[in-house]
Each structure stands twice: as structure tokens, then as C-alpha cells.
């Protein structure tokens, strides 16, 4: 449990802790602003806790200050949340990025959305707002009206420059040639090899976190489903679990199993899509057609079970809306044929030398880089990071089920493909186990009035750990921090492409399976 971690912190920093509260498996430690860096550094480097999320809240109305929260994961299913207070008249805090590289984007996000400045940040440019956004406007401050339409001002975005003889730039996007989401990539190349890549995202920023604050809790579940559309179930369950946790609702066992089945169905169709994408990009259309066909059949199954090809509308606070228990047979029949087809597909893929040639050693991410950036999900696992929320911080029916977490060390496109393939088999086993244990019973508990409080909710989506931190006050959402796995993984692409050739970029990109919408929100 977190006890030994807290004990260690108390021993070393006892006098710095101003306040300590515990709720469920979350321990909140309030400390003096200037000491955050030391304690976070200690948690990260000495106690080896991962920084899972970092965000700010505007609590000026209640406590007269802003707060910044650093969420760390501990062994034994516990979390430590370090909190610091920031006065409005001194809106600054010391950057953590030099100590924990994965703090980089969180701090820039806090700067854009709250106007709190990370002093000493290595890259203090804007992240979410573009250059035409006026200075001094911070959307997540409580006094910012969501419907404000700020004028466009003149400004310039400075890209990193790589100079030298024969070095030239290739700008790509935001509107791409294929049917994918918008983002801008700027390559610096010398001939074919990529010397530098700078990504620029947030084209699809819609103001989702601010929107959460305007919605009733029940409606917010639908918004969570649309943060990253192809990970609807994972987002909805993470949000629901946060609310259920703070309200002390233990959902019925049958609902837990149904949620688990939905989450694994989501993983299967996403992984099939990613494998199809990789096959397309290595010019192996036969494999791509094969995988895309399987994906379509799974999406049709989704629709038969839930009414939605993307598994939407099923989750609700307190359980699920619709029972799928009467369709057990249909599900297991589909899984049988999927398993057979998928095995054939993977045999084809691994036995094709032209595929191996394109994906082996391509787009390598070392374990060291992956750790530093906190790369999550199958991409992290393919780079040797053995973590999976389903096992490390279990939820829904996962504690009752058996499954393996595939890990590989290579960190290339090949490893990412294989990890996903192994996960498809694991998902099939998980669904089979869940189906066999689906006992009769209710599927939803009345949630009643949700009490005030805050809690973390989390799932392992097909892309990796997905976090929600929800704060409810007077039955309304006061703050909802969403952390999609892509927010962690995007920066890895800048490393993965180095020394690779431009034509391999699409394969590397596909193998990382990054969500733009989930990242931009």
C-alpha cells in the first residue's frame, strides 16, 4: 500500500507536509509550493513512482488560490497526490521537467489553460492555444465564460530549426492525404533520413474540460465517450468509476463483467485497425484487407450487442444501461471465428519477408526514452515497460480474471505489432472468462445524489492508461481532468523517427496509434 511510501516521505520531508488526507486508495499531501520539486523528484527517482498526471484547479472562490496536483502511482494499487497552492498575485511555480521529463506538456498545458507559469521550463512556448489567441485569457479559470470568442491577434509560432548544408524542411498537414485527424509535422531532413521532427497538435481542441463543468453528471458520460471516439468505452468507464468511487457506489457484479467485455471488445477492434493500418503502410494490401474485414465484423458485433458500432451509450453511473447476457452465444461464436481468422492473418504477416523488412528495427523507442516520457499502453510495453492498469490498479471484473501482459524489449514497429497481436488473444480469453462468469443479477444501481468530493477513475484503453480526476461540488462537476494515453505518447514520435527515412514515417506513426482528439480535447 501507499503507507510505506508515505512513511518514507514523512521521514524525509515531514516538516514540509502541511496537510494529509486519505480517501479510498488516494492519499493527498499538501506541501509548500517551493518544495514540490524535491518531493516529486524523490517519489520519482528514489521510490520509483510514475507521474501519471498533473493538472491545476481554480479554487480561488473556496480557498483563495489555484492548486497544482501531481498524481503518482504506487505499488499495491495506491496513489499519492502531491498538492501545492498558488496565489493569484504570484502565478508561478518551479518547473519539474528537468527532473521528470514527462512533466513537460502538463506544465505547458497548465500555463495555457490557467495562466500559471512554470518557471525555468525548457520550452515555454504555447501548447494548446495558437499564436492568434490573445494574451491573458485562460479558459479553465472560473471567471472565463465558455462562450467567449476571443478575437484573433497577430502572432508567430517559432519552430525549432535544424541548419546545415543540404538540410531542408518538409512541412506536412494539418489536412493530410489520408483520412486521419489533423496535425502538423515538420521534418528536417538531409536526403531521406530524418534529422529532426517537430509535431504541432491541438488543431482539434474543443474545450472539452471546460465543457465538462457545464454538464450534469449523467450527460457528462456521453461527453467522455466523445473525448477520443474510438476509445469510447474506456473513457466512459474511467469517468463513471471516478464518480462511483467518490460516491461510494459498488456497481453490481454483472455490470462489472459487462463493462469488462465492452472494454475488451474495444481493444480488439482497435488493435485490428492498427494492424490493418500497418499492413497498408508497408504495402501489403492483402493483409490489410484481411484485418479490416475482421475489424468490420467486430464492429458489427458491437452494434448487435449495444446498438452502437463504437460501443457508445452503454455505460452509466452505477452500471450499464443494457444487458448483453442473452447474447452470450452470439459473442462466443464471433470470437471463435475471429480467433481462427486472426491466427491466419498473423501467420501471413510474420511469414512475409517484405513485411518484416519494413517493420523490423523501424521506429525504435528505447526503454530509457519510453520511461522518461512515460510512454504508456502497448507502445510502452513494446519498449520494455511492464505496466498495465488492468493488473496494477485493477478495476471492473479484472481482479477476478486471468490474463497475461505481453511485454517486449525491441521497441520497434515489429514489437508494437506483436504486442498488439498478443493482446488480441488475451482479450479473447478475457471475454470468454467473463462470459462464463456472468451470473444473473441487476446491471445498474441507483446512484442517488452524488456527494461532494474528488476521486480518480482509470482504465487501460487500447492505447494505454486513461485517467480521469473528477471533483464534484453541490452535485455539479467542479473540475474534470482528462488524461488520454496519447497525451503521454505523442512526444515519443519525435524520437521514434530519428535516423529513419521519410517513407517510413507513416508506418511509425500508425504503429504508435495516436489519438489527436484525445490529446487535443
Amino acid at each position: 500500500m501507499s503507507e510505506e511510501y508515505i512513511e518514507a516521505i514523512r521521514k524525509k520531508f515531514g516538516n514540509l507536509i502541511l496537510d494529509e488526507t486519505v480517501s479510498n486508495n488516494e492519499t493527498y499531501l499538501t506541501i509548500k509550493k517551493d518544495d514540490a520539486v524535491h518531493i516529486c523528484d524523490y517519489l520519482y527517482h528514489t521510490l520509483r513512482s510514475a507521474l501519471l498526471s498533473m493538472f491545476a484547479t481554480d479554487e480561488r472562490a473556496r480557498d483563495g488560490c489555484f492548486k497544482i496536483h501531481y498524481v503518482f502511482s504506487c505499488k499495491g494499487d495506491a496513489f499519492i497526490i502531491i498538492q501545492i497552492k498558488i496565489e493569484e498575485n504570484l502565478p508561478k511555480f518551479t518547473t519539474l521537467t528537468h527532473k521528470i521529463p514527462s512533466a513537460n506538456w502538463y506544465e505547458r498545458e497548465i500555463q495555457d489553460m490557467f495562466g500559471l507559469v512554470p518557471v525555468g521550463h525548457p520550452d515555454p512556448r504555447r501548447l494548446i492555444h495558437f499564436e492568434d489567441w490573445p494574451a491573458g485569457l485562460y479558459p479553465l479559470r472560473k471567471d472565463f465564460d465558455i462562450r467567449t470568442k476571443p478575437e484573433r491577434v497577430k502572432g508567430e509560432y517559432i519552430y525549432r530549426r535544424v541548419e546545415g548544408e543540404g538540410v531542408y524542411e518538409i512541412p506536412v498537414g494539418p489536412v493530410h492525404a489520408g483520412v486521419i485527424e489533423p496535425g502538423h509535422f515538420r521534418f528536417s531532413v538531409a536526403g531521406e533520413p530524418i534529422l529532426n521532427l517537430e509535431i504541432r497538435l491541438f488543431y482539434t481542441h474543443k474545450g472539452v474540460e471546460k465543457l465538462f463543468e457545464t454538464m450534469s453528471i449523467d450527460k457528462a458520460v456521453f461527453l467522455a465517450e466523445r473525448v477520443s471516439g474510438d476509445n469510447s468505452a474506456a473513457h466512459a468507464v474511467a469517468f463513471c468509476q471516478a464518480v462511483e468511487k467518490l460516491a461510494g457506489i459498488d456497481i453490481p457484479p454483472r455490470a462489472k463483467y459487462i463493462r469488462t467485455i465492452l472494454l475488451e471488445l474495444e481493444r480488439i477492434y482497435n488493435h485490428l485497425g492498427d494492424i490493418a493500418g500497418i499492413a497498408t503502410d508497408v504495402a501489403y494490401p492483402f493483409g490489410a484487407a484481411h484485418a479490416n474485414r475482421s475489424k468490420e465484423l467486430m464492429m458489427q458485433l458491437n452494434e448487435k450487442l449495444t446498438g452502437s458500432r463504437l460501443l457508445r451509450g452503454m455505460n452509466a453511473i452505477g452500471g450499464v444501461r443494457r444487458d448483453i447476457g442473452d447474447k452470450k452465444e452470439m459473442i462466443s461464436k464471433e470470437l471463435d471465428s475471429l480467433q481462427k481468422d486472426f491466427r491466419e492473418l498473423m501467420e501471413l504477416l510474420v511469414s512475409s519477408p517484405s513485411v518484416a523488412d519494413r517493420i523490423e528495427t523501424t521506429g525504435r523507442i528505447s526503454t530509457e526514452i519510453a520511461k522518461g516520457l512515460h510512454v504508456v499502453g502497448p507502445v510502452g510495453r513494446a519498449s520494455g515497460i511492464d505496466s498495465d492498469i488492468r493488473r496494477d490498479h485493477p478495476y471492473a471484473a479484472y481482479p477476478k480474471l486471468e490474463f497475461k501482459v505481453p511485454v517486449s524489449k525491441e521497441g520497434d514497429v515489429n514489437a508494437r505489432t506483436n504486442v498488439r497481436a498478443d493482446e488480441v488473444y488475451e482479450s479473447i480469453t478475457l471475454i470468454r472468462q467473463a462470459l462464463s462468469r456472468l451470473h444473473e443479477g441487476e446491471i445498474r444501481k441507483d446512484s442517488g445524489k452524488i456527494p461532494d468530493g474528488c476521486a480518480l477513475g482509470y482504465t487501460e484503453s487500447p492505447r494505454g492508461e486513461t485517467f480521469y480526476w473528477v471533483h464534484i461540488s453541490n452535485g455539479r462537476i467542479e473540475r474534470c481532468k482528462v488524461r488520454d494515453p496519447s497525451f503521454c505518447n505523442w512526444l515519443a514520435i519525435e524520437y521514434a523517427v530519428l535516423d529513419n527515412i521519410v517513407p517510413d514515417f507513416p508506418i511509425i506513426n500508425k504503429s504508435l496509434s495516436l489519438s489527436y482528439s484525445g490529446n487535443d480535447m
Binding site: 481542441h205 474543443k206 471546460k210 465543457l211 466523445r226
Partner: protein, 162 residues
């Protein structure tokens, strides 16, 4: 009726229309103007072997300069607005604009915020609206048929003027 049968019937009708009007394929440029990516999942599904829309004469092109139609998804975010307008201006006339998904139709669940623009028709003329969140592949095909009927009317008007 299976999905395949539905597709066969709708696809053949669509194919007829496309052949009559264009005498070649209908070229579409898809623009994600801030979608949640759910709509893209369904546009991509149209290319899988079960729907395989290319056989009915629907072709996704890489550049707006080669497009007859823009298929726009998402509520049009502040950060995508300029890119969308540039893409629109780069598409040759007479062109069609289809707003696909609830977001593109009227902002959907995101609606009007500081960063989201409540639908494509605030920014450019829209010829067809394809509702749904996301619309099923069959609904997209149906929307395309309606769009082509509209184009026929547009061309007639141009001819009358000439």
C-alpha cells in the same frame, strides 16, 4: 437483410447516379475539422472489403484540388477554421460540401465553446447534412446520393444561366 445486401442495393443506385453525372468517379476530400475521430472510423470503414466503396465509384483523393466534394467532420474548431477555409477555396467549382456527423451538422455535443464552432454551415455553404454520431456507413452512402442529386440541380442551373 445483411449489411452486404444493403450495401449492394444502395451501392448500385449510387453507382448509377455517379456514372450519369460524372462519367467517372466521385472524388472526395475528407476534412477533419475537429472531430472526436469516431466519424473518421466510419469513413475509413467504407474502404474495408465489406463496403469497398471504390467499386461504386467513390474515391478519396489526397488533394482538395482533385476533389468534387468536401466531406467535413467535427464542429469546426477555432484552430482548424483557417485550414478548412483554405481547403474549401482550393476545391474547384462546382463543388459540394457534406457535413458529416452531428458535430459537423450543428456542433453536436461540443456545441459552441471558445474553441468549438457549432457546425460547418457557420463557415461555408453546406449541401447535405449527414446526421448521426457517428453516421453508420449506410447513412454516409445515402448522404452521398442526396448530394449528387443536389449537384445535378446545380449543374442544370449553371446551364440555364449559360
Amino acid at each position: 437483410m445483411t449489411v452486404e445486401d444493403e450495401m449492394e442495393i444502395m451501392g448500385q443506385r449510387l453507382h448509377e447516379k455517379i456514372k450519369n453525372i460524372f462519367g467517372r468517379s466521385l472524388s472526395i476530400r475528407e476534412v477533419d475539422a475537429g472531430s472526436c475521430n469516431g466519424c473518421e472510423v466510419e469513413v475509413n470503414a467504407l474502404s474495408n472489403p465489406i463496403y469497398d466503396m471504390e467499386r461504386f465509384g467513390i474515391h478519396i483523393v489526397a488533394s482538395p484540388r482533385h476533389a468534387d466534394m468536401l466531406l467535413v467532420t467535427g464542429p469546426v474548431t477555432r484552430n482548424m477554421e483557417l485550414a478548412l477555409l483554405k481547403t474549401y477555396n482550393a476545391t474547384p467549382d462546382p463543388k459540394l460540401v457534406a457535413a458529416m456527423g452531428s458535430c459537423a451538422c450543428n456542433g453536436g455535443i461540443f456545441g459552441e465553446t471558445y474553441a468549438s464552432g457549432s457546425g460547418v454551415d457557420r463557415f461555408m455553404p453546406v449541401d447535405v447534412y449527414i446526421p448521426g454520431c457517428p453516421p453508420r456507413p449506410q447513412a454516409i452512402i445515402f448522404g452521398l446520393m442526396v448530394a449528387i442529386d443536389k449537384l445535378e440541380q446545380k449543374i442544370r442551373k449553371l446551364e440555364v444561366k449559360a
